[in-house]
């Protein structure tokens, strides 16, 4: 477990970092078709398909097409950040200033002694309704993150680097004739009929369970039947689709009332 120190003004808040996510993906291996034996990988020269040994391999940056600058391990080592426990805030911003495309992976921060300071900082961040942008180095890598609150606790979410985020500002929005006001009102009616609260517990990964059941059945030698894939018939005009949706919702409500 990594231990760090949040630097806030002249105060230092010691914290421990815990992963907040649990990977539940079903893990597959790559096999050779027919024999079902595991597949291995090696590096070869594409020209003569000759294998190259580990010791012969070098790493290079392609500076021009076909032209490489060899980068030695000792050189990459020197580019790595210095070991430090410090988590340095560069600024605080309103949560709306951080678009969802920045967030990558959450960690809980727990107090590492000095609990009063820890909970005081969490309360201050909550009261100010901000997220703290922070930089830190951990295990030879440099990170940028956002510190925010989750209940009484502090959370540190690893953010993507600026180079990794494509900005919507650079994209042209689809254009066309002005939208029809009546259709817009119908669409708004439909959206408001489907309004609700974000309740993540109400969504389950049903597919993961289905896939596991399917694998287990196959392991027992069964051939489970699967649904056929149908293609969708091409639809009516957007106005007809909206009108039918609203009518269906209305019928549903009347039934509930009756």
């Amino acid at each position: 477990m990594w231990k760090g120190i949040l630097k806030v003004g002249s105060s230092a808040v010691p914290v421990k970092l815990y992963s907040a996510v649990e990977n539940r993906d079903i893990h597959f291996h790559l096999l050779q078709s027919g024999t079902n034996s595991r597949v291995k990988q090696h590096m070869i020269r594409p020209d003569d398909r000759e294998q190259v040994t580990e010791e012969q391999i070098r790493k290079g940056y392609e500076i021009e097409p076909g032209e490489f600058v060899v980068i030695k391990d000792t050189e990459t080592q020197q580019l790595k950040p210095k070991e430090s426990r410090e988590v340095r805030f560069t600024r605080f911003v309103s949560p709306s200033a951080v678009g969802s495309e920045w967030y990558e992976r959450p960690y809980y921060l727990g107090p590492d002694g000095e609990e009063a300071k820890y909970f005081a900082l969490a309360e201050a961040i909550r009261n100010r309704k901000v997220e703290g942008i922070a930089r830190w180095a951990m295990r030879g890598k440099s990170y940028v993150g956002a510190v925010l609150t989750y209940g009484d606790y502090l959370v540190l979410i690893k953010l993507r680097y600026a180079e990794e985020v494509l900005s919507v500002r650079e994209l042209p929005a689809p254009t066309g004739r002005p939208l029809d006001e009546k259709e817009l009102r119908m669409a708004e009616d439909l959206v408001s009929a489907l309004e609700g609260e974000f309740n993540p517990e109400q969504f389950r990964d049903e597919y993961r369970h289905k896939l596991m059941e399917f694998i287990e059945a196959k392991a027992r030698g069964k051939r489970p039947r699967l649904a056929a894939v149908k293609t969708r018939a091409r639809g009516e005009s957007i106005r007809d689709q909206l009108a039918k949706s609203l009518a269906a919702l209305k019928r549903g409500k009347e039934k509930k009332v009756a």
């Binding site: 815990y18 980068i71 969802s100 300071k117 440099s142 408001s192 039918k244």
Partner: protein, 282 residues
């Protein structure tokens, strides 16, 4: 999909990543809007290639652990290890047929306030582009979502995995953000965080608040979000190149390979084209 940063099939990978990542239909009520999904995140730019002794770029190949022979990807399949050395294989077709509707439709079941979704849930960002002359319906949904400040929530299946997803609009463009399922996020209790036993001293809270207030800004500063390691690596490579140090290359051709495409360009084209198409259709 796992991608090695030292991957050798760099060009192939770049080409693959600009095709739509997923194609399907957004549905809400009885309305359906065909869309293509493109990633809004990309790998950090500076990747190193593996080179042979003469500086020739190498490629990573699969080979059979039994015969030692090289394998094409068509000669491989995915298998789940049910017990040691015993695998159950699952084909792409089986993955799709397990849940055909969800593999095809993003069915928006509820529209929530955008800022109600905790940032802990966000996984990966995507852009949606209209497909099949769906430009008008696309713009209608985008306009409506932007006006109401709502995000549509759905689950759908992409490449053999189910995702919780939020769809919302920004500047006339529909975006998708995959979310973690609630059982993929650990609770503070499960992690073992201590309970807050007493209120922290008010003076201490106020001191922190005043430091925060002083360093609060309106926007992010992209200079603070830089990948310093990649920048350092690039600088080093340029410097060595300038001094002709450790520069290798077997077939230096000045022509850029045709299949290297900028993701941003593909997205621009994809959004632009759809707009024109809908004009013609209208």
């Amino acid at each position: 999909m796992p991608r090695s940063s030292h991957g050798t099939n760099q060009h192939e990978e770049q080409e693959a990543s600009v095709r739509p990542f997923w194609s399907g239909t957004i549905t809400f009520g009885l309305v359906s809007i065909p869309v293509n999904l493109f990633p809004a995140n990309r790998e950090s730019r500076v990747a190193l290639r593996m080179l042979g002794p003469e500086g020739e770029p190498l490629s990573r190949e699969y080979y059979s652990s039994e015969s030692g022979k090289d394998l094409e990807s068509a000669e491989t399949t995915r298998g789940y290890e049910v017990r040691e050395g015993k695998y159950v294989t699952v084909s792409d077709e089986e993955l799709e047929r397990l849940s055909p509707e969800k593999s095809r439709d993003i069915d928006l079941r509820v529209f929530v306030k955008r800022d109600e979704i905790s940032p802990l849930y966000f996984k990966r960002a995507y852009f949606l582009a209209p497909a099949d002359k769906s430009g008008k319906a696309y713009r209608l949904l985008a306009e409506t979502m932007e006006r109401t400040g709502r995000a549509g929530i759905a689950t759908f299946v992409m490449r053999g995995k189910e995702y919780l997803v939020a769809i919302f609009a920004e500047r006339g463009i529909l975006r998708a953000e995959t979310l973690r399922f609630s059982d993929e996020i650990r609770t503070p209790r499960a992690v073992g965080l201590p309970e807050k036993r007493k209120e922290p001293p008010k003076a201490m809270v106020r001191r922190f608040e005043s430091v925060i207030a002083k360093t609060t800004r309106k926007t992010l500063d992209l200079k603070e979000m830089r990948d310093e390691y990649s920048e350092g690596l690039l600088k080093l490579a340029k410097k060595k190149h300038l001094h002709h140090k450790d520069v290798v290359g077997i077939h230096p051709s000045k022509k850029r390979p045709e299949n290297v495409v900028d993701l941003m360009e593909v997205l621009k084209r994809s959004l632009d084209r759809s707009g024109k198409k809908s004009k013609q259709a209208a």
